[in-house]
Symmetry: C2
Subunit: 118 residues, 2 copies
Amino acid sequence: MATNIKYSSTNYQNLQILGEACDVNDTLRSIGARWKMQVLYSIRQGLPQFSKIKEAFPSVSDQVLGKRLRELESDGLVIKRVLKASVPFQSVYTVTEKGAALLKIMEDLHQWEVVWNG
Amino acid sequence: MATNIKYSSTNYQNLQILGEACDVNDTLRSIGARWKMQVLYSIRQGLPQFSKIKEAFPSVSDQVLGKRLRELESDGLVIKRVLKASVPFQSVYTVTEKGAALLKIMEDLHQWEVVWNG
DNA sequence: CCGCATCCCTTTGGATACTG
DNA sequence: CAGTATCCAAAGGGATGCGG
């Protein structure tokens, strides 16, 4: 898990690494895509199907939801399994360890909001 | 500090809070704006002036840098002080506690990248 | 030195309609 | 049921030029 990573004695070195890499911005822009973390969260919470997620977020369009699911899969945050190849079939998404670790950080971010933005 | 928040016995409740609030997306979109976290980071690392930040990131335009600094200020992540009212004058930015707490989460996110994306 | 105004190009994401 | 294709409107951000 990411939270088990050993830090140096101070945060300074990590900030240096952060500054050198400068790749958090790319990640932020990726996971900041509309509905993306909500979709990841809802899969985690037991809504593993396209239609179930749509129920949870009625205002997301089919197209965008499909795009987010494809992104989440190619990011390695979820795994997609097709249960039946016939019509109508069923797809089921499950959150990976990587995805769960990211959701943990999203919890931290949410707590940061609660603390600092009320 | 955000990390001192008491969690319930399981993460489930926090995920529920996260799901109910669904506001991480807004935050992600805000802090995911181009250059924004890099600028916050560089202020923290001792580049508190407009021109110094420009040196660190030559490819950012004046307009966007100015916009990011205004956003960071209105978000409460930095504080701006004008040292001289005459021409030419000098502005100095400093990171707030709120901003520092956010940078801590950015470190976690960076570590997540290192662990899961190599 | 520290920005803002304007213009314009690129990206994002919603609406509608259609398939295996 | 689970998507894809196409079109289009809105927002983001770079280039250039100007102001206190």
